[in-house]
């Protein structure tokens, strides 16, 4: 069934978008991530301009992270203080990101920036996750006990001043690294149309040493707020948010996520991380290949303002 999208200005098949939303929702429910890094390339692939895709995906991520954050809130696995401090950074980062997005769009380099950032971020995070989980699986196979992270282990981050007590996570930490991570996630999210969950989760676990129990819930909480901001900012500055596209995607997304959560619970943690690592790495490599091989079409046409 074809439906004409009012902002993207082209007809799409509703069931195709719905299926894409469900597939991405399944993955995001399974791994506890937003799934923007999968959804945005899919939309671009079916002919939606990168600007509309990035701006519209923000709504899809807001919906799926709100439904996730609600259930985590009920289970008391959200650290509101941590989320708030991350958010302060996140807000600054989102503003900066939307500003740069607008600037790059006017220079014709938005597509390149998105592609390079995807390559760097996805290959990096995907590679690290893959490496870490393969190690964990091998250790489990050979019968050695898993190397436990000592909860008291500190790194240089824990020596910074202006400390704050995060009660729900039971950690005592300087606000500077937390704010910095927030800025980074907000910035990257606004430019790439991703919630940044797949970057935030490892950063919280490995850099800030936040207990795993509160990481996913807090990450979803933050994603929810930054993406909600991003919707309004994109709508105000770029006018590229297609509400109809967003609605179809997120209906598919929240349904798919429910099945994904159930599938994820039946799988051991290392295998789950291995799969996610492979998935992220694959998307990163796909972008890298696209950048380095000679494209079939060297030219692109982009509309500037309508003529007077």
């Amino acid at each position: 069934m074809q439906l004409y999208l009012p902002i993207a200005d082209l007809p799409v098949n509703i069931f195709l978008i719905l299926a894409m939303g469900m597939a991405v929702g399944f993955v995001s429910g399974m791994f506890g991530i937003g799934g923007g890094f999968l959804m945005t390339p899919l939309l671009i692939f079916i002919g939606i301009t990168p600007a509309v895709a990035v701006a519209s995906v923000t709504g899809h991520i807001a919906a799926s992270s709100f439904s996730g954050a609600l259930s985590h809130w009920r289970r008391r696995t959200v650290d509101p203080t941590l989320a708030l401090v991350l958010l302060i950074g996140g807000t600054v980062g989102t503003f900066a990101g939307v500003w740069l997005f607008t600037l790059l769009r006017s220079y014709g380099q938005l597509d390149l920036t998105i592609a390079i950032s995807y390559v760097v971020l996805l290959s990096g995070v995907g590679g690290a996750m893959f490496w870490e989980s393969v190690g964990a699986i091998l250790r489990a196979r050979s019968g050695k006990p898993p190397t436990l992270r000592r909860p008291g282990a500190h790194n240089w981050v824990h020596g910074l001043p202006l400390k704050l007590r995060f009660k729900r996570s039971k950690i005592y930490l300087s606000v500077f690294p937390v704010v910095a991570i927030g800025v980074f996630i907000g910035f990257v999210g606004a430019i790439l149309g991703i919630g940044g969950g797949f970057i935030l989760v490892p950063l919280l676990i490995y850099v800030l040493r936040v207990p795993t129990a509160t990481v996913i819930g807090t990450s979803m909480m933050l994603t929810l707020v930054t993406m909600t901001f991003a919707i309004v900012l994109h709508a105000t500055t770029n006018h590229q948010v297609d509400a109809v596209l967003t609605l179809i995607m997120m209906v598919g997304g929240v349904i798919g996520a429910q099945f994904g959560v159930r599938a994820g619970q039946r799988m051991p943690g290392e295998q789950l991380r291995l799969l996610l690592g492979l998935l992220i790495l694959a998307v990163g490599i796909r972008f890298a290949v696209e950048l380095t091989i000679r494209p079939d079409e060297l030219f692109t046409v982009r509309a500037l303002e309508p003529g007077s």
């Binding site: 709504g59 807001a62 709508a235 500055t237 929240v254």
Partner: protein
Amino acid sequence: MSRRGALAIALAALLLAAGAGRAQAERLIASISNHRVTITPEYSGEELLLFGSIERDADTPPHRGSYDLVITVRGPKMTMATWRKEKKFGIWINRESREFINVPSYLSVFSNRPINAIASADVQRRQQLGLNNFILTQRVGTDFADVVPGDPFRAAFVRLRAQHSLYREASNAVTFLTPTLFRVSIPLPPEVPTGTYDIDIKLLSDGALITRTDTAFEIVKVGFEQFVADAARRNGFLYGLVTAMMALFTGWLASVIFRKD
């Protein structure tokens, strides 16, 4: 000026008008099947029909060759940039660009036979017959100019627009039902720009322009499509807030529906 001089000028003007009248003895009458194409949620392309007739009168020279028609449909004007990728530091990036200033967002040329067979290259250029002769103004640095049809940026621009069926040239699209009655179908692609479209109909014979006429139609978003597009453009902030509320509501609804306890 003397009275005789004035009389001579008036006489000359009259003679010229009569001459022009004789040269343009044919009249073109055309009508389009739909003057207002509406974009609704179901829109996925449309086809318009243009019917026309060549009216002859007593002054029409009897020994005229067969008629040729070149019909140009132009969509609303837009300014577009064409970028060319080049390999730099091992990756392909957008390097050079050309701006096409106020060019039609949609451009179709229909004729009854190949344009090269209809008129000489000179007439083609003067009358802007066909995509190759249509003036697409480029900004090259500080200059405004159209360039030769073989220019890589111009060729790529036309090719890319054609890929989306926004530019096209069809040399067998005009059908003569009788020697003076013609029909052409104008296909509108799914990704059609909204606005006013001009149809320019040129009648030629023996390689020369005899007469021309024009008509127009408009493509508008209506109802829901119009409402959403207007809201996004005029009230971006409110539109963003509503979209955000919609996202939160969907998320909340899902967590309620799929709640396990």
